[in-house]
Symmetry: C2
Subunit: 489 residues, 2 copies
């Protein structure tokens, strides 16, 4: 596509070009904040609708908590403050005024007594609230989710993947027992994995983070990890078992069934607009986006090939009928009958935008009762009969969904390798990037050492990981299992 560098030549630039040229997002004048354009936002809306349905299916309700968190709240949970009370946007004043020269200035008299932090995540404000909601085991569980914007002041940003403000959902649940909270944590990980695999067409590894990589304040962080086309890993969602840490920090106790007083058990879990970045990076090519049909804002584009107005009228009548049939199947269709663009330009535009299926129809097709059917993922096309076309398109969309998932899965399998010594480990990172399955001695020190020396991190300890004796690739100390390393976004 004109204006997009090839993926091979410069993956990072290819990604940026694609986001901009496909009208997904752009930078705003505020450092590190993005503007999500209508086409990009429509993908987010589709994701939201599906995830929201899954959350409700598993018993959750949505609510809304304030954007502002009093500064003091961050001091209440010791490890949380380490993780989050750093790069935050801080509100110190609540009024502007005009100075003598008529310029707008911050009114020095309107200083807040206590500074307010724009939420980087909402555990603190929510657990402060839950204190008022929970007295007895009868008030539990609380299964709440919030769709919101959050801010983490980032120095190095990249559209969708890391921005100072981003959109996300954050689930925050409260339970009577540790077992129940762990089950919730695992359930939501499975919801995310299901969404990634069956909607994003993105195979993921389900695993746990090492203590080093845990969410600040969590006893256990579960994650789904995906592999991008450049061999770098991307964390696509996390689900945290928070133990009683936040209940203790905000003094949230409840009367148990046995009429004892205990602290409440907590989980939190979230995915963000980062998933749009994952979607782009896992399937797209040098011609533009490749979107999974289930999340594509437009699933089918119909391009008429015509010279004269009568030809267009004839084609339009047929397309009207086809559109009706497709819509009845819940398939979204765009009829691109603009007379300002040539067919070739239209083809390129819809390829760039990742529309999974393209139908082209000319006058000869109308005479023959055929159309040209093209699929975006493989860029193959064939001439097919108009009879039964809607059914054929429906099947083709399913086929594409499966096919790009399989392609991603094969890619990941081809790029997941074992390393049994450190030289091989480093060679793989540089020459054949991907997941590396390797032994590690289980200490935070060694993990940090490897990170400092190679920029690779432990992405996760896969769930149900095979136990096997081995030696740590860095220290040679004994290890009972391999873990997954990679360089990551």
């Amino acid at each position: 596509m004109k204006g997009i560098i090839s993926k091979e030549e410069d993956y990072s630039q290819w990604y940026n070009d694609l986001v901009i040229k496909a009208d997904l997002a752009e930078y705003s004048p505020v450092r590190g904040c993005m503007i999500i354009k209508p086409y990009g936002y429509s993908i987010w809306e589709k994701m939201q609708a599906v995830l929201d349905g899954m959350f409700k299916e598993t018993g959750h309700s949505n609510a809304y908590f304030p954007l502002f968190i009093p500064k003091s709240f961050f001091s209440k949970e010791a490890s949380h403050v380490e993780g989050f009370a750093k790069e935050c946007a801080v509100v110190t004043h609540y009024r502007l005024k005009n100075d003598e020269s008529g310029n707008v200035i911050v009114d020095p008299e309107a200083e807040l007594e206590e500074e307010l932090i724009i939420r980087p995540t909402s555990e603190t404000i929510i657990w402060n609230t839950y204190k008022g909601w929970i007295q007895s085991y009868r008030d539990l569980p609380i299964l709440v989710n919030q769709w919101a914007n959050v801010v983490r002041w980032e120095m190095r940003t990249r559209l969708f993947l890391r921005t100072s403000e981003f959109l996300w959902q954050e689930g925050h649940t409260a339970h009577a027992t540790a077992e129940e909270a762990v089950a919730e944590t695992e359930q939501m990980l499975e919801v995310y994995a299901d969404f990634a695999e069956n909607w994003l067409a993105l195979p993921v590894i389900r695993g746990r983070k090492t203590p080093n990589e845990r969410f600040a304040g969590a006893l256990d962080t579960y994650c789904i990890e995906a592999l991008m086309q450049d061999g770098k890993a991307l964390q696509a969602g996390t689900s945290h078992f928070l133990g009683q840490n936040f209940a203790k920090a905000f003094d949230v106790k409840f009367n148990t069934k046995e009429n004892k007083l205990d602290y409440v058990w907590a989980t939190s879990w979230g995915v963000s607009t980062r998933l749009i970045g994952a979607l782009i990076m896992s399937h797209s090519d040098d011609a533009g986006l490749v979107l999974p049909p289930k999340l594509a804002p437009i699933q089918v584009v119909v391009v008429p090939i015509f010279k004269h107005e009568e030809e267009l009228e004839n084609i339009s009548a047929y397309v009207k009928q086809l559109t009706k049939e497709l819509k009845a199947k819940g398939i979204s269709v765009k009829f691109d009958n603009r007379d300002t663009h040539r067919p070739g330009a239209k083809f390129a535009e819809w390829e760039l935008k990742g529309v999974p299926v393209r139908v082209a129809i000319g006058s000869r097709d109308m005479q023959n009762g055929t159309v040209e059917l093209a699929r975006r993922d493989t860029k193959t096309k064939e001439t097919v009969n108009q009879d039964g076309l809607a059914i054929r398109i429906e099947q083709l969309l399913e086929d594409i969904q499966q096919s790009i998932y399989q392609k991603s899965l094969t890619f990941r399998e081809d790029n997941t390798k074992e390393a049994d010594d450190y030289e091989e480990f480093k060679r793989l990172l540089d020459e054949e990037p991907g997941f590396i399955s390797a032994h590690w001695d289980g200490t935070a020190e060694t993990e940090q050492l490897i990170k400092d020396e190679t920029r690779a991190t432990i992405r996760c300890i896969p769930l149900n990981n095979k136990q096997e004796e081995g030696k740590c690739i860095r220290t040679g100390k004994p290890s009972s299992q391999r873990v997954l390393f990679a360089r990551a976004y």
Copy 2:
């Protein structure tokens, strides 16, 4: 209802009690910010879904713009700065750190070069963006909406009606001609009026604001005004024709069809979580919420009356079938089979929460093939046959929707009066509050005088207002039409 003061005794307290007791919302520790609880949020979600559908039906797409606006942007549109660059939350720093004593403090070294304002509304950041999107008439119109949180630092707050942070949607459109922009402004007013009347069951007056009451930066502000049960008016939505003001402020020009350079024409329009306040205040009673069936999160509650487990089993089997039939009609049902509450307590709880229809079933009903059917709005009940119950409930829901609209309309008509002299005007305001239709000389000075003397404001000049000669109630100067006054929220 226990814990709620009567509406007659103290309308304002009644409202607050109701919001809290019905689990809609509560105050947060951050001054003036609210927590929207799951039940309250589920009403907002229903509103969002309907409005979002209406926006898309009229050709709009959603997008997302940053929370932060550089301070300098507010100085660019002269009247906008007057209206909005006042009570704003101002971000001045981007980092926290621990001081020597381990306390979390704002890092004085992390001061922003230019302060950032939390958006009170997004015209400035959006028109700064549109500059990059618009070159030619071919790029127009731009029809974009955003669902977002905004902040206006309020000193006197009230849940849903006036909070420092609130949720809303803001439409921002760009057009090639003034006519097209005015048509858009009027179209969106009609969308809001349609939504208010046919979904909220809230009759509204469509009108225009006086110059005094216009949105800061608008050439014309259209509004819908509703009358609450205490006779105070509430502005339920606004739609602004912004002329070329923002295009000029942000230098957004386009090549016209005639190949001339012109500034782009703009509109903006919004409704907010304030609508939930309007909903509560217009229909509810001393027993709790009365929700219009079309927006009620739960439309039907079924309460079994039983002593023994076998009775419940028998009833449950029937309810399962009924639920299936209702769900097939798109009707949401809650089967309240808790054994921890007596039926009376359940009745009171669902009345408080405004569930439109209640079905109660005991063992005798099961023998007789009947149920007790109660409607929330009139609190009437009757014993009806189980045969055809789903159809009957469907009709009853429609009936309730119509009925509460009619009741509100009758109330408004009864409480809209003409005043032809100032004494009568003041007497009406104090003794028979409602809309007052009165002559006004058309000047901002008189409008302000009346406001200062009576706390009544001109709510709007109704669309297609009857023209008639008269004298201003305050100054006696000639007037060509009556306008609508009221005290307002």
